[in-house]
């Protein structure tokens, strides 16, 4: 039982991003980078499955610059067995990434693929779906619970209005939502051990995938800033103000 997990190196969640003055993108030149938090959940889920005896090997993949090795090493420190770094400078789009992962899935033949539901940099929420389509496999997105038994994955999904539980035959693609688990902190010895774990490097060209962007960014804008609030002296004033604003009848 082999699990393939994909991780993306993104701007750290605590970093306050700023839109470039020309609106062409977001200035991340000096930003601290970290593993996409949803991918951390995907990694954690794979490790739990392995620890529970449901899986035997976890392969973790990242597509990005040389520094993305740090992100892979973190996944290895958490407990993945080996890494594959697809070196690519510049922008990646969901379809390109899905094609890379599909190419790797063809040689690795994993029984399960777990991805984060989306990356916090572009919030695209497409890669898992595209990967399932390219491979012709079942998909369960927004997973909050995952169990494996008898060649089937049982996945509870977070959907509008409640939870939906699906059974799907393996191999399958699952994307992790926030409540699937709480990722572990890595221990010091595991950080050291991770440095010695195998990590293969390849490229989109070697995998026969064209990563040239197909989307064009027209403009990036800051969301409108929230106007300053007011401090009211009493509940009565609060109610009056809310009535004024037609929030209350």
């Amino acid at each position: 039982m082999k699990i393939l997990v994909a991780v993306k190196r993104v701007v750290d969640a605590n970093f306050r991003v700023r839109v470039k003055p020309d609106g062409s993108g977001v200035d991340v030149d000096n930003a601290k980078m970290a593993m996409n938090p949803f991918d951390e959940i995907a990694v954690e889920e794979a490790i739990r499955l392995k620890e529970a005896g449901a899986a035997t090997e976890i392969v973790v993949v990242s597509i990005g610059p040389a520094k993305a090795e740090d992100t892979l090493r973190q996944a290895l420190a958490m407990g993945c067995d080996r890494g594959i770094l697809v070196l690519h400078e510049g922008k990646t789009e969901p379809l390109g990434v899905a094609k890379i992962l599909a190419a790797i899935a063809k040689t690795e033949a994993p029984d399960l693929m777990i991805l984060g539901k989306q990356a916090i940099d572009d919030d695209a929420n497409q890669t898992g779906q595209m990967l399932a389509a390219l491979l012709g496999r079942g998909q369960a997105t927004f997973a909050s619970r995952l169990t494996l038994a008898d060649g089937m994955a049982t996945v509870t999904r977070e959907v509008d209005g409640g939870a939906q539980t699906l059974d799907l035959p393996l191999p399958a693609v699952v994307t992790a939502d926030l409540r699937l688990n709480t990722p572990r902190f890595v221990s010091l010895p595991n950080i050291i051990k991770a440095r010695a774990k195998p990590l293969a490097k390849t490229s989109a060209a070697e995998l026969g995938v064209d990563l040239a962007p197909r989307l064009r960014t027209l403009r990036i804008e800051e969301p409108p800033s929230r106007p300053a609030g007011i401090i009211v002296a009493s509940v009565a004033e609060l109610v009056a103000r809310l009535r004024e604003a037609a929030v209350l009848p």
Binding site: S187, L188, I192
Partner: protein, 807 residues
């Protein structure tokens, strides 16, 4: 909130140092203060500081400053209502090598000298205090119970509130964009919100301090370095009041934080951040985790705290901290500008220092004078050399890398050399010179005899140069030696008002006939000694001033700052115009007479005079003066001719045994003669009376001078302390300075200098005795935690009546 049009003082930077400075300015000086922060308070580097608060430094004054921080952090909450997170956990320093243990024995003695109780404890005691430590490899530990830890952002916010309570205005989101200058004076601070007219600017800009300073033409030589630490999950069994740990042999430190551990380290291969400007904005910002680089600390940390094998890492903090080329922070009045003060470059002990440093900076800025001896952190310890950013980076990284290495006595830096060499460098090198570096200058420390390795071999005891330096010492005492002191700082003071100005600044009489020298101090308003130098009167309106290499910027600034307003005086640095050869020893006259036709007899050229002498076709200034206590001359030679004069002297000196000698012999010679060194034996904390230099003060004349009033007030009163000479009977004791002086078993002071006198055959120390009857009593010295019998004296040990000097 927009900026006011005027403020008395503008503090730039809302980190812990800026907040502390604003707090002290507002509280103690009732100053009208505006603090400007480009982002949010603490958002530069204060917010990610680890928060260990240690107090002991190798300088007594800096230790005092750090103690002041602790006092403030203890009491601040009561005043402002905002907690500082201060916890007096104590600090354990672990020793696992014999050299480290020796270092700690000396450290414990230094602590005692500075009035702190540091204990040396056994590995078993360490285990009791901190059960999670693996102690198998330990020799012992030092224990300073009064150290602790605090929460950096909380202290800064508490200081900020305190500053506001006392009327200061702290404005966030305003960046300084420039300064409007009138000559050397800032008249307006230009900001993104408009200009502020002000009297004084205090640059507490952290890693931005360099850029801010540059806008006013001043140099703040600091280098941001990437410093990493981790915060772990809860460690089972870790006590909330566990002492902070410094484990220098494993290059790591630990601190308890919400049940887990903060662990960081000082690696030998640190990574500098930019040598250019800091990218903007950089607010509450960190770098990527660099586990590859941090791995060296992980291995060491696990070996020390095995419980770390099983706990997870909650967070890695990789942030920039400002470090400096000598590991000390940067404080005081910038020499290039009339009204900018600096407090920056805190080398990762900014939290420990900020409370006291803010106090000192506020005093300094408001009174125009440092409140105590702050020489080791004074911004005037740098020179134009420190404008070279690459040099500063290299030297700073070396200093960072040495943060936790054993500090061997007499250790020299290796990076950024050779930077400045005298014209004699090659000539000295072939004669076996082993060089040290001072303010960038390569200077011969000693000469390795043929067949021995020309290199310092650092050990905690006597080092490999001890024997050769003894030979150099005896050569000067018995025959004649030649020192290359070309790095001496030299100035010319000229103009119609030169004599009046120097008479105002100098404590001794400089208004002497042309051709005379004066050894003089320059005093602050408390009567403390700010400079110690030689003044030669070249003409009615022209003086030549010579001082130590390291004091070049400091002394020049002191003189410049105290020239009375409107006086017609020109002060010019002429350091590089002259090479300096110092010919010393009983045969010095024989050598000099052999190379010049000038009459150099005692009658024609007595002590304390300057003459133009011609050697090797070159007219040079010969100053009959000495720092070793022998007959001799300082020869100040137009730089290009220095080599020729050296060759002529060496040739003529051969029959008399002349050889070049180095700075380590100079040190042993001056100690034996009891000559004081500024910065250690005489400092702004010490008056001439206390230093035994009352004879060099012109109190009897009616001439007013800086510090006179203070001395008049002190005159005749019992001395608070008195400088004395100590020798030990035991000949093998290594004195380095900071050893405790015991009188009848009670601590009464500490050594300000220590060394060995080869002629008297004994270790020698100088130090102040704080006791009403210093002449009586039984004296001992505590040397590396061991007590040895000592003899006190108040006269030079060698030639107390100056027969040699005036021969």
């Amino acid at each position: 909130m927009s900026v006011p049009a005027h403020a008395q003082v503008v503090v730039i930077g809302g980190g812990i140092v800026g907040c502390s400075t604003a707090y002290h300015l507002a509280k103690l000086h009732k100053a009208n203060v505006v603090l400007l922060e480009q982002g949010k308070l603490t958002s530069g580097s204060t917010w990610h500081a680890a928060g260990l608060v240690g107090q002991l430094r190798s300088s007594a004054s800096i230790t005092q400053v750090l103690k002041r921080s602790v006092e403030l952090y203890k009491t601040l909450e009561a005043e402002t209502g905002l907690a500082t997170g201060w916890k007096m956990t104590g600090c354990l320093r672990l020793a696992s090598t014999p050299d480290r243990w020796t270092e700690f024995k000396r450290l414990a003695t230094t602590a005692r000298s500075f009035g702190m109780d540091m204990e040396l404890i056994s590995p078993a005691e360490v285990k009791t205090m901190w059960p999670l430590l693996a102690t198998g490899d330990l020799i012992g530990a030092s224990w300073l119970p009064t150290d602790g830890q605090a929460s950096p952002s909380d202290i800064a916010q508490s200081l900020a509130r305190g500053a506001r309570m006392h009327g200061a205005s702290l404005i966030e989101g305003v960046r300084v964009t420039g300064f409007e200058m009138e000559g050397r004076r800032i008249v307006r601070v230009l900001t993104t919100d408009g200009p502020i007219a002000c009297d004084t600017v205090i640059n507490c800009g952290g890693q931005w301090a360099r850029e801010i300073g540059a806008m006013a033409g001043i140099n703040v030589p600091l280098q941001p370095v990437k410093h990493q630490y981790i915060v772990t999950e809860k460690v089972p069994g870790l006590s909330a009041d566990a002492p902070t740990i410094r484990d220098p042999d494993r290059r790591t430190y630990f601190k308890e934080e919400v049940g887990g551990l903060v662990m960081g380290g000082y690696e030998p291969d640190p990574i500098a951040w930019t040598t250019g400007d800091i990218p903007r904005p950089f607010e509450f910002q960190l770098f990527d985790d660099d586990w590859e680089h941090f791995e060296q600390h992980l291995t060491e940390a696990i070996a020390r705290v095995p419980a770390l094998e099983t706990v997870g890492v909650r967070q890695m903090i990789n942030g920039p901290e400002s470090f400096t080329p000598d590991g000390n922070f940067i404080l005081g009045a910038a020499p290039e500008c009339a009204n900018m003060y600096v407090g920056a470059g805190f080398n990762a002990f900014g939290i420990a220092a900020a409370g006291g440093a803010g106090w000192a900076l506020a005093e300094w800025a408001m009174r125009g004078e440092a409140p105590l001896d702050l020489w080791v952190v004074d911004i005037r310890r740098f020179s134009s050399l420190h404008r070279d950013r690459d040099w500063v980076k290299e030297r700073t990284l070396e200093a960072y890398g040495k943060h936790y290495t054993v500090a061997f006595p007499h250790e020299e830096y290796e990076s950024g050399r050779n930077r400045i060499v005298s014209p004699l460098y090659d000539r000295l090198k072939v004669r076996g010179a082993v060089f040290g570096s001072k303010l960038g200058w390569e200077r011969p420390n000693w000469f390795a005899p043929p067949g021995t390795e020309a290199r310092d071999a650092y050990t905690m005891g006597r080092q490999n140069w001890f024997g050769p330096v003894g030979d150099e010492h005896r050569l000067v005492r018995e025959k004649v030696g030649l020192f290359d002191q070309s790095s001496f700082a030299k100035y010319e003071v000229s103009g119609p008002d030169a004599v009046a100005a120097l008479s105002w600044i100098a404590a001794n009489t400089v208004d002497k006939p042309v051709g005379r020298l004066t050894y003089t101090q320059m005093l602050n308003s408390r009567g403390g000694i700010e400079c110690d130098l030689t003044v030669a009167r070249l003409a009615e309106d022209r003086f030549y001033v010579v001082t130590g290499t390291g004091f070049r910027t400091h002394d020049q600034a002191w003189i410049a700052d105290h020239i009375p307003a409107g006086a017609d005086v020109t002060l010019r640095d002429v350091t590089e115009d002259f090479g300096t050869l110092v010919l010393m020893g009983p045969r010095a006259r024989d050598v000099l007479a052999a190379v010049t036709t000038t009459d150099v007899s005692n009658a024609a050229f007595p002590f304390g005079h300057v003459r133009i002498v011609s050697i090797a076709g070159c007219d040079l200034r010969a100053l009959r003066v000495t720092y070793v206590g022998e007959l001799g001359w300082e020869l100040h030679i137009p730089l290009a001719a220095t080599g020729d004069v050296f060759d002529a002297l060496m040739l003529a000196g051969e029959p008399f045994g002349l050889r070049p000698v180095g700075y380590r012999a100079l040190e042993s010679l001056r100690l034996e003669k009891g000559y004081r060194a500024w910065g250690s034996d005489i400092t702004p904390n010490d008056t001439p009376f206390e230093a035994g230099l009352g004879w060099a003060v012109k109190l009897k004349s009616n001439t007013p001078f800086v510090g006179r009033d203070a001395l008049v007030a002190l005159q005749g009163a019992p001395l608070r302390k008195r400088l004395a000479t100590f020798t030990t009977e035991r000949e093998d004791v290594v004195l380095l300075g900071r050893e405790t002086i015991l009188r009848n078993g009670e601590a009464v002071g500490y050594l300000t200098s220590g060394g060995y006198g080869y002629t008297i055959g004994k270790p020698i120390g100088l130090g102040y005795v704080r006791h009403p009857e210093p002449e009586t009593g039984r004296y001992e010295l505590v040397v590396a935690s061991e007590t040895v019998a000592a003899t006190i004296g108040f006269e030079p040990l060698y030639d107390p009546h100056n027969f040699k000097v005036k021969a």
